[in-house]
């Protein structure tokens, strides 16, 4: 009987060691992917460490309130994507998703022009983790600030 228990314990120890090694490897891989696996640049990252112009990248941040303007041609829009440490002007020509609006998160796909403006050829709307019925949409300033903090 003692032999069977011993074998069982041996298997348990082996499996635990294998699992620890496995989880360690997974964590290391995830850690090394930290920058590569991110879906987009934050505005602060783009300001601090700009990608070379004409390299297709994504830029994600909050649409600055009051920054959204439509050009005279009626289809080109300009707005500013920002986070707490940077702001990048964006230019986009086309149809925007329904959820795209000032004060919400958005991801722009395109290229950074040499003058620092981001020229987007596709816009994606990001929605936050809050689910609020229409009747409750008048959020307080404090809640709005929280929303901004959580886009990072």
């Amino acid at each position: 009987m003692s032999g069977a228990i011993k074998a069982k314990h041996q298997r348990l120890v082996l499996v635990v060691i294998a699992l620890v090694a496995l989880i360690g490897a997974g964590l290391l891989a995830a850690w090394s992917l930290r920058s590569q696996a991110s879906f987009f640049y934050l505005p602060s990252e783009m300001v601090a460490n700009p990608p070379e112009p004409d390299r297709p990248v994504r830029l994600g941040g909050m649409v600055e309130a009051g920054s959204l303007k439509t050009d005279a041609d009626g289809v080109t829009i300009r707005f500013v994507l920002w986070d707490d440490k940077g702001r990048v002007p964006v230019e986009f020509k086309g149809i925007v998703p329904d959820l795209f609006q000032e004060g919400s998160g958005a991801v722009a796909e395109g290229k950074r022009r040499a003058d620092g403006t981001f020229v987007a050829d596709n816009l994606l709307a990001k929605h936050d983790e809050k689910y609020v019925p229409r009747e409750m949409k008048n959020m307080t300033a404090d809640q709005a600030r929280q929303v901004v903090e959580q886009t990072k």
């Binding site: 069982k8 499996v15 879906f39 934050l42 925007v96 329904d98 609006q101 229409r134």
Partner: protein
Amino acid sequence: MHGFANPARFLRLARVLTGPLLFTGIGLTLAALAWGLFGAPAERLQGDSVRILFVHVPAAWLGMGGWTAIAIASLAELVWRHPLAAIAARAIALPGAFFALLCLVTGSLWGRPAWGTWWVWDGRLTSMLVLFFLYCAFIALADAANRDGEGGSRVPAIFGLVGAVNIPIIHFSVLWWNSLHQPPSITVGKSEMAPAFLYGLLAATIGFSLIFGAVVLMRMRTILANAQAEARLRRRAMEALDD
């Protein structure tokens, strides 16, 4: 745990549990989905498309929970050689794969109106797709191992444990890397979801989970019955040979 090592005792319990689990689950799910479709309010930004939440989130939970259960069963198989562990893992794999796929499909349908795209290769979506592929591989591997007969259940068990690495990656993908998918709305002791959505979602999740449990019990009973029938056929063939 080893009290259920006796398949006869397990079968008695499973037979009693299957019906109540299934019917409570169906009732709760139908009520929650009816609430989601007709009772819950429209969301402030997303409008009516938020209603797909009541299927998407339970599907994601069961897709990930299913593999967690496979990993636990695999551990029991490798360390304790529990006679029902491999059967449980095989029984879980198919409904798990179904819910992972359901999560991907409903997410895609939801992404089009909410984000403006059917699919992006961000961390959350990609790791969830990997989970679905892992399920497909597990099903193929477990079936092949089963055909090999006794002792063949160790390889799928190792695969079940290795694949579990993906589960925390799915969960943390929206926290480690910035992604198009939003961070979790419900964390321990905290919810960013209005009660009108939260309680309906809770009911739907419990309902779908009960159905999942019932299906797993039914599949385990089927696998056991198949094994029994096969053993009986083999015995009869041997007897015929002896005559």
